[in-house]
């Protein structure tokens, strides 16, 4: 037995390799194929070769003489295996059902279907009908090996096309298996997402479904592996205090930073994770990004909305948390030296709209965006009419920390207060202090930029 195993391992390997493509579905049915493969395989090859060269009649005689399935392996063996397996199954069923259903028609004996299957199989090989009438072999324990070559029976020049097909099928199966599981699959998914993102940015996405604001759900889905990786592993985002977000609409005010405004999508993702019951949070981007070719279109497809009062009010009326960055381009445009300095919160437009709509303001501090996409400089393109491109060494693996602050209620103030500059100023100051306080606290707690 051991000898057989040793001696046969090489041939088993060979036959396994070449027959894998067709063999896989059969694996379930093979009970003990491995050890017995080798001797029949060795014996089969010479006989196959003999068959190929012999004339049909001679071949028939040779087959009759051999009186073994080996010469018909390629097509018959699978059929035989099936019928053998079916036969054993039927036998079991019969044994189990004996006496319970005496009237049940007994299944036909295993021998009968075999000639038909053999006929079909042999017809496929182009043999005459008479020559295929092979006496059915008694079922054996040993299973014949899978055909080493698809066209090795009878049909003349071993067609290269068939060999190539077999190899292609094998390759495809291997690739499919690889793609379905493991790192290769994820890599392909990520690459596909990036390709879709690039095509969206160029303006050739061809996506047929976007929402009213321009967000493409298919793009978001195809980028979700990358998004998850960035959120969980690369940037290791942690968010605290998300319970402070009210259940209805809210205006979430955060500090703005980073050469590219990724703090918007990260914050939106954080809110979806921490408070999944809330409707999806949308974020507003400043015109400098929104108007830019490629980047503007891409961010719009990712879900960014242009920062203007109409859009803010419409989003708020949909009962969403709306993330705004009142610093605007001043936040993203400031150099790395000025990081974490909160610039002027715009003209207070967010406060005015919050009071008008009676919606609470939730201050949020975001730490990590400055270092993840540090703004080292800008390409001076304005003279040429090009938008100013930021110089940044790509997304770095800084650790992000997000802290939500106490909401600032505006409902009690009443609609008329939105026209009172003092009230608005007070609210803006309150928001700014809250954000700055949380930023200082987070920066103090942070031990290292990349480690957290």
């Amino acid at each position: 037995m051991a000898k057989g195993v040793d001696g046969g391992s090489s041939s088993r390997g060979k036959s396994a390799k070449t027959s894998n493509g067709a063999g896989k579905p059969r694996k379930a049915q093979r009970a003990k194929p491995a050890p017995a493969e080798s001797p029949p395989a060795e014996a089969a090859r010479p006989s196959k070769k003999a068959k190929a060269t012999a004339a049909p009649k001679k071949a028939k005689r040779a087959r009759a003489e051999a009186a073994s399935e080996e010469s018909l392996e390629p097509s018959v063996a699978p059929a035989e295996e099936e019928s053998h397996a079916e036969a054993s199954l039927r036998a079991e069923v019969e044994a189990a059902a004996e006496g319970e259903f005496p009237d049940e028609e007994l299944p036909p004996p295993p021998a009968q279907p075999e000639p038909e299957e053999e006929e079909e199989a042999a017809l496929a090989l182009g043999l005459d009908e008479e020559e295929e009438r092979i006496e059915p072999e008694p079922p054996r324990d040993t299973f014949e090996p899978e055909p080493a070559h698809a066209g090795s029976i009878g049909s003349e020049p071993m067609p290269f096309a068939a060999k190539a097909m077999g190899a292609l099928v094998l390759a495809r199966t291997v690739v499919e298996q690889g793609l379905r599981t493991g790192g290769l699959g994820k890599l392909f998914g990520a690459a596909r997402g990036i390709v879709k993102a690039v095509s969206s940015g160029l303006g050739a996405s061809g996506s047929r479904e976007v929402d009213a604001y321009g967000k493409d759900p298919e793009l978001a889905e195809s980028l979700s592996p990358i998004a998850r990786f960035l959120y969980e592993r690369y940037w290791r985002v942690t968010a605290e205090g998300a319970q402070m977000l009210p259940n209805g609409p809210a205006i979430v005010v955060a500090n703005h930073s980073g050469a590219l405004p990724f703090d918007g999508p990260v914050l939106s993702h954080a809110i979806s994770r921490e408070r999944p019951e809330l409707p999806e949070a949308r974020w507003l981007v400043e015109d400098q990004i929104f108007y830019a070719p490629f980047v503007g279109t891409l961010f719009n497809r990712l879900g960014a909305v242009r920062a203007c009062p109409e859009n803010l009010l419409r989003l708020v009326s949909e009962h969403r948390p709306v993330i705004v960055f009142p610093e605007g381009a001043q936040g993203t445009g400031k150099s790395f030296r000025e990081r974490y300095q909160v610039k002027r919160l715009g003209r207070g437009g967010f406060a005015k709209l919050a009071v008008r709509a009676g919606v609470p303001i939730v201050p949020v501090a975001v730490v990590g965006a400055e270092e993840a996409l540090p703004m080292l400089g800008k390409l001076p393109g304005r003279a040429l009419g090009l938008p100013e491109l930021p110089i940044t060494p790509g997304p770095l693996p800084a650790k992000w920390s997000i802290r939500f602050g106490e909401p600032i209620e505006t409902q009690s103030l009443g609609w008329a207060a939105s026209d009172d500059p003092k009230t608005i100023q007070r609210i803006v100051e309150q928001t700014r202090e809250s954000i700055e306080g949380m930023l200082q606290a987070l920066l103090k707690e942070r031990r290292s930029v990349f480690g957290g």
Binding site: S200, G201, L202, G203, A204, S205, G206, S207, R208, E209, V210, A212, Y213, G214, D216, D287, F290, Y291, P293, F294, G296, T297, R301, V305, R306, C308, E310, N311, R314
Partner: protein
């Protein structure tokens, strides 16, 4: 209005009865049992029907106003549809201006003189202009920016201003102005359909503006609804949903070709000059920036619910 209908049926007059919009409305009026008669005012004779009476009136003719007043006094109507508009930009800009702006002026003066009860006019959402500073959905009260580089759009803006002035001076007339989104369908011909019916469509690299489209059947339905509605004012009449331009091109069976802007300009100029059917250079902004109008007011007040989504409307182009 309801009384008039109950007694004998509505009497309707339609200018531009053989035009694009007229062609969508006339069959519905013919089939409507509540419509007693249709007075078709156009330079070409429409299809024969027992309800239709034809009067030849050329709105570019300087005396057209007098003829209109005569026609409307002879047979007073309950509703006048002024649909004598061009489907798209014309090379002969003087003629286009004459038809749209001067023609409308004459119609409005005639309407004022006969004290018309109701007036329905079409406009297009192109009057909002295509700007990067637009909100995501344009409502009817948004500022009309238009497109300074396109005479076609400027003419439409002029028409809208005339209508506003008319409303102010004639409060007794119920004026309904319907701003249609890009109309697509197998029987209409305008810059939008010409663009989308191409196999290779040039677009601006790096930009993918949001567009919308309304199916021609929905346009007919909206015009028909305008017959009996009590609502007055300006309404956006658009299909459901919005799509990026590249998506629309694909839905119509074409392939978007993003190119840098200077190249697109050159290509459009060259193609228009050589007579190929494509969107004229002046309307390039609409390939650049989004211009999606909000149709919810029409739904609420006019009761107009589009049957076709933008993608379905554009797909109808593909089959044609």
């Amino acid at each position: 209005m309801a009384d008039a209908e109950k007694k004998t049926g509505l009497r309707v007059a339609v200018t531009g009865a053989t035009g694009d919009l007229g062609g969508l409305l006339m069959p519905l009026l013919e089939a409507d049992p509540g419509v007693r008669s249709v007075l078709a005012l156009d330079i070409a004779k429409p299809r024969d029907h027992e309800k239709i009476e034809y009067r030849r009136i050329d709105l570019t003719f300087h005396d057209a106003e007098r003829e209109l007043v005569a026609a409307l006094t002879e047979q007073p109507v309950d509703v006048l549809y002024h649909l004598a508009f061009l489907f798209g930009p014309r090379r002969n800009v003087a003629f286009a201006h004459e038809v749209e702006v001067a023609g409308t002026m004459r119609v409005l003066s005639a309407a004022a003189e006969v004290k018309l009860p109701r007036l329905v006019l079409p406009s297009l959402t192109v009057v909002y202009g295509a700007q990067p500073s637009h909100p995501a959905l344009l409502t009817e009260d948004a500022t009309l920016r238009g497109c300074p580089s396109s005479r076609f759009v400027s003419d439409k803006l002029e028409v809208e201003r005339q209508v506003e002035a008319f409303r102010a001076r004639n409060p007794g007339t119920n004026v309904l102005l319907l701003r249609f989104g890009p109309i697509v369908g197998p029987h209409v011909d305008n810059p939008a359909t010409r663009l989308l019916q191409r196999r290779l469509v040039p677009t601006v690299l790096g930009f993918d503006p949001l567009w919308q489209a309304i199916h021609e059947d929905d346009v007919g339905q909206a015009l028909h609804l305008a017959l009996r509605t009590e609502a007055t004012g300006t309404f956006n009449v658009v299909g459901r949903g919005a799509m990026p331009l590249s998506g629309m091109i694909r839905a119509a069976g074409g392939v978007p070709l993003p190119m840098p802007e200077p190249m697109v300009r050159g290509l459009l100029r060259g193609l228009s000059a050589s007579g190929v059917k494509i969107v004229p250079l002046g309307l390039l902004d609409y390939l650049h920036y989004s211009w999606v109008a909000d149709g919810s007011r029409a739904e609420k007040e006019l009761g107009f619910v589009p049957r076709f989504h933008t993608s379905e409307a554009v797909a109808a182009l593909r089959r044609s």
